[in-house]
Structures are given as structure tokens and as C-alpha cells.
């Protein structure tokens, strides 16, 4: 049922996206025809692209294509949008996945350490490390680590997505922020679990600290952590624009920037719709988990 509810939302999003993209100043016909094009050439390009029709009509042309699964063709290169996106989606998913994985592992470890040694030096050190992760402009991190690890040490390639090594630095730059969020989240939800009555009981029964943390408390704090991880995954796919630019990574982020620069409407629309769709789906799943954990709050 709830999935059916998503369809009107997507249609609204598609409308907003369409209008938004077309309202932004910029004329793909002019960009396509070139700097020294004459007025006639620009007009011709415009009519070929259907850009001279009223906006609403353009929207309906677009939507009627969308309903039969036709995302249209790129204004810039003429290639099919579906093809362009499918070329780029795998590297992007790979990058997102790599970032999430290391961020979750490291983040949870720091979180667990911090919660176990709450308010002592491992906690303060851990939280400081984590917070540092969200305190740096990620393009700056990117440029600095390229200088150190590619140019000076020669360990990793500077960019691209040619081999698995080229995923290391961008996923580091991209995951740092998520690592911080997950660490803090794990810590606070674990601290809360550790205070629960039955944990106290366990402690009074003489169970070791390790077995309390890993055996009982962690289990209870996992679901919220998964939730937050899921949410971050949603942000990542669309949020890697800057990092992808620094590492000239052939993913959806750089595609988005290129398409915006060229006002390649069909590609921009398809990308935002894709981001919106996965964001809404992730949210939807998270909502269900959330409702499951805390039945008092209903989210519909």
C-alpha cells in the first residue's frame, strides 16, 4: 500500500524537478550551437530540441516518454540518457559502497570504544577523531591526500576508476563524514542501552564488560545504527559531487556537474529523479524500521 503512495510523490518530484531545471537561467541551444553561433543557428537548435514549445507541453512530452521507460536523449551528446547513466552508475555505487563499509566499520569501532570507556580518554580521543572527520572541507582533504599519497608517496592513482586502488582515496574523503556520524550514533545509542535495567542486572550478576557490550548492549543499539547508515547511503549517491570532481571520478556526481554546466535537461532530470527515488525508497525502509523500534511514533 505504502509503495503505491510513493507514486504521486514521484510525480510531484518529477514536476518540481522539471520546472526547476528549466527555470534556471541557461540555454542549452546556445551552448550547443557554440559561442560564435548566429541567431539562426541557435533558433534551429532550439526547435530541434523542442525547447521552443511551451513548458507544460514539454513536460507532457517528457512524462509520456517516462511512462514507457524512455528517459530521452542527451542534448549534449545525443546518446540515450539510460545508456549514459548506466555507464556511470556502477563506479558510483562502488564508491558509495566502499565509503559506507569502511565508515561503518571504523565508526562503530570508535563508537563502541567511546561508549565502553565513556568520559575517559579513549572516549575523548575517539570522539575527537570522529568529529574531525566532519570538520574538514572534503575537497581540501581530497587535494591534500592526492598531494601526499599520489604525488609524494606514489601509493595510489590520483583519480579515475580504473582499478580498485583508485577507489581508496575518494572513498576515504567521502566516508570521513559518515564515519563521524556513525561513531557518534553508535556511542550514544550504546550508552543508552548500557543503562537499561537488564544490562545492570547482567553487570550485577558479574558478567564481564566485554560480554555485556558485545553480547547484549550492541544488539540493542544495532538497529538505530543501521537506520542512520541507510539514511547516509541515501545522501551519498547524490552528495559526492565535490569529491568526484577532485578525483575526476567517472561517477554520477561528475555527470551531474557536467550536465548542469551544459544545461543538459534530460540528463539532469533523470539523475535527480534517480536520486529522489532511491532517497525516498531508503527513507521508506528506514521509516518502517523506525516504526518497528518505537511503535509509539507512527510516521504516516
Amino acid at each position: 500500500m505504502r509503495i503505491l503512495n510513493l507514486i504521486p510523490l514521484l510525480i510531484i518530484v518529477s514536476f518540481v524537478v522539471f520546472m526547476f531545471v528549466h527555470i534556471i537561467p541557461g540555454d542549452p541551444a546556445r551552448l550547443l550551437a557554440g559561442q560564435d553561433a548566429t541567431r539562426e543557428e541557435v533558433e534551429l537548435a532550439r526547435s530541434v530540441l523542442n525547447l521552443d514549445k511551451p513548458l507544460l507541453q514539454q513536460y507532457f512530452i517528457y512524462m509520456s516518454g517516462l511512462f514507457v521507460g524512455d528517459l530521452g536523449f542527451s542534448i549534449k551528446s545525443g546518446a540515450s540518457v539510460a545508456q549514459i547513466i548506466s555507464d556511470r552508475i556502477l563506479p558510483s555505487l562502488g564508491l558509495t559502497f566502499a565509503s559506507i563499509v569502511w565508515a561503518t566499520v571504523v565508526g562503530m569501532l570508535i563508537g563502541i570504544l567511546s561508549a565502553t570507556f565513556r568520559n575517559r580518554w579513549p572516549d575523548q580521543l575517539g570522539m575527537l577523531t570522529a568529529i574531525s572527520g566532519i570538520s574538514l572541507p572534503n575537497f581540501w582533504v581530497g587535494l591534500v591526500i592526492i598531494q601526499i599519497f599520489s604525488v609524494q608517496l606514489g601509493w595510489f592513482p590520483t583519480g579515475g576508476a580504473g582499478s580498485w586502488q583508485s577507489y581508496i582515496m575518494p572513498s576515504f574523503a567521502l566516508g570521513a563524514g559518515i564515519m563521524a556520524i556513525i561513531a557518534r550514533f553508535t556511542r550514544s545509542s550504546l550508552v543508552e542501552s548500557l543503562k537499561q535495567d537488564y544490562i545492570r542486572t547482567g553487570r550485577s550478576k558479574g558478567l564481564g564488560k566485554g560480554s555485556i557490550v558485545f553480547g547484549h548492549a550492541l544488539k540493542n543499539s544495532l538497529i538505530p545504527v543501521i537506520t542512520v547508515t541507510g539514511l547516509q547511503f541515501g545522501f551519498l549517491l547524490g552528495g559526492s559531487v565535490v569529491v568526484e570532481t577532485v578525483f575526476s571520478f567517472p561517477g554520477l556526481g561528475t555527470l551531474l556537474i557536467d550536465s548542469i554546466q551544459f544545461r543538459d535537461y534530460p540528463v539532469i532530470q533523470a539523475l535527480i529523479l534517480l536520486f529522489a527515488l532511491q532517497f525516498i525508497l531508503v527513507n521508506f525502509i528506514v521509516d518502517i524500521i523506525y516504526g518497528f523500534v518505537n511503535p509509539k511514533i507512527r510516521y504516516d
Binding site: L9, I12, V13, V16, V17, F20, V21, I23, I24, P25, G26, N119, Q124, M127, L128, I131, S132, I134, S135, L136, P137, N138, F139, W140, L143, V144, Q147, V151, R184, S188, V191, E192, K195, G238, G239, V241, V242, T245, L256, I257, I260, I268, I272, F275, A276, F279, I280, N283, K296, I297
Partner: protein
């Protein structure tokens, strides 16, 4: 969650002592203390900075470009021979006011939306949350590029763009707290005593959402500084000649291989500032968030 119910509206005079308690808590934890001192220094620099710079931050000196840190220029000079330290000092005001005002706008609008959404529920709630979903679903950078493209470049529009995408986060946060608080007994009783809706929202619910708003506000200042810097990175930020930190960082990035100090110092100051706000916000959360109270 328990402490929330413990406090009734009649306890208002207690607020003051709560403030004192917060200050005491802050001074107790070392990292929080250090970060709050740093924030103090930043605020002072923001107020008097432009008047105490050792050099004119805008005056070029073409005979002395890209010189590394020295006694005369402790952070070195940039591509036009301007003193980097002076620029950072003078830029504190710009950078802080951009982020504070952006977060403030976002927080005010978001809070109102969240309160309304959480309190009234039903269709209003649905509508506001769907709008937030749509906003969330847009990648921030698209929104920012769009807004800057429509409004034109400049600091004021950067503020608007950044404020725009902090609205939905505040709205969600406040809505969540509102939902919880709404169900609490004392609101029920206030309602039965015939208080107006507006009174309930602002006198009873809003104060309870304040702690989490404050925490999120502090942390958002940091994120906002980074967001503004990212906009500058994409060439859509402030007039590049203003000593805004993000602008300094992004215009200097071409020198990363040849004159590292030009990139390093603006990056460092951004890092320290954002870190301070985040650490401080974290400390504030520890103190204010009842969930973490022992």
C-alpha cells in the same frame, strides 16, 4: 526522556539556574572548554578583526607574491602578495556571519514548520513532510546551483541557498520532538485548561524543543561553513576578492603543489572553527539531551 516530564511549566524561574548549570558543565569537560574558548576568540576576532589586521587585507603587493611564512608575514602571502594572516583575521566576520545568519534563517523557518507539522498532524503534517521529502530528495548542490543561478552570485544569495537546505533538517528534528512532547501529560492538562493553541505551541512545546535545536544549531554552523566553502569551490560563492575563508581556500587550491601555505592556513582555520563548533555542540548535547543523563 524522563526529565522532560519532570519539568512543568511552573518551573520557569528555574531556567536561570539551568543556564548556570550548563556553564558549569561546559567548564568541566576539557575539550568542550577549549572549544568554547576558541569560539569566544573567533567571536572577538569577528567583531574587532577588520580593525586590527597588521596589513590591509585587500592591498596587493605584486613584488612579494606567494612568499612563505616569515616574521613579517606569519602565514605568508597569497598570489597577489596580500598578507594571509590579515585576510583570515578580516574574513572571520564574513565567514561567521554568513554561516550564523544562514543557520538562523534555516532554524527559524524549520522550527516553525516542524512545530506546526508536529502539533497539527494530519493533512498539514503530511503536506509539510512531503515538501521536506522533496527538498531532501534534491541533492544540496543542485539546489544551491539553482538558487545562485536564479538569484545571481554574491554573499547574500549564498546565505539564502545554504539556509534553504538547512530548513528541512530543522523541520524534521522539531517535528519529532513536538510529537513526543505533545503526548506528555502536562500538555494534555494545559489543553484541558483552555489554553489557546498558539500558547500551547510556544509556551509549552517550543521550550522543550529548544535544547535539541540549540545542539543542532551549533553543529550546523560548522556544516554551513563547509557548505559555503563547497559553493566557493564550485566557483559559486562570495565575490572571490572578499577574504571569505571558503573563497580563499578555493581560489588558492591551484597552488597546492607549489605554495602549500596558501592552501594550508585557510584550510586549517576552517578546520579548527568547524571542529570547535562540533565539539562544543557535542558537549552541549551531552548536557542538554536528557537521554544521556545519568
Amino acid at each position: 526522556m524522563n526529565t522532560v516530564t519532570m519539568e512543568s511549566p511552573k518551573d520557569l524561574p528555574k531556567r536561570k539556574s539551568r543556564m548556570q548549570k550548563i556553564v558549569k558543565e561546559i567548564t568541566r569537560k576539557k575539550v568542550t572548554l577549549i572549544s568554547s574558548i576558541f569560539i569566544m576568540i573567533l567571536i572577538i576576532a569577528a567583531i574587532i578583526g577588520p580593525w586590527i589586521t597588521p596589513y590591509n587585507p585587500a592591498a596587493p603587493d605584486y613584488s612579494n607574491i606567494l612568499s612563505p611564512p616569515s616574521l613579517a608575514h606569519i602565514f605568508g602571502t597569497d598570489a597577489y602578495g596580500r598578507d594571509i594572516f590579515s585576510r583570515i583575521l578580516a574574513g572571520t566576520q564574513i565567514s561567521l556571519s554568513v554561516s550564523v545568519s544562514a543557520v538562523l534563517i534555516g532554524a527559524v523557518i524549520g522550527t516553525i514548520l516542524g512545530l506546526v507539522s508536529g502539533f497539527f498532524g494530519k493533512l498539514v503534517d503530511k503536506l509539510i513532510m512531503r515538501v521536506c521529502d522533496v527538498l531532501f530528495a534534491f541533492p544540496d548542490i543542485i539546489l544551491a546551483i539553482g538558487i545562485v543561478a536564479i538569484l545571481g552570485p554574491g554573499l547574500r544569495n549564498v546565505v539564502i541557498a545554504v539556509a534553504f537546505f538547512s530548513v528541512p533538517s530543522f523541520a524534521r528534528l522539531v517535528r519529532g520532538t513536538t510529537l513526543e512532547v505533545k503526548e506528555q501529560l502536562f500538555v494534555e492538562s494545559a489543553r484541558s485548561m483552555g489554553a489557546s493553541r498558539r500558547r500551547i505551541i510556544f509556551k509549552h512545546i517550543f521550550p522543550e524543543t529548544l535544547p535539541s535545536i540549540m545542539v543542532y544549531f551549533t553543529m550546523s554552523i560548522g556544516t554551513t561553513i563547509l557548505a559555503a566553502a563547497s559553493l566557493s569551490f564550485l566557483g559559486l560563492g562570495a565575490d572571490p576578492s572578499t577574504p571569505d575563508w571558503g573563497a580563499m581556500l578555493s581560489t588558492s587550491r591551484d597552488y597546492i603543489g607549489s605554495a602549500f601555505h596558501v592552501v594550508f592556513f585557510p584550510g586549517l582555520i576552517i578546520f579548527l572553527t568547524v571542529l570547535s563548533f562540533n565539539v562544543f555542540g557535542d558537549g552541549l548535547r551531552e548536557i542538554l539531551d536528557p537521554k544521556l543523563k545519568d
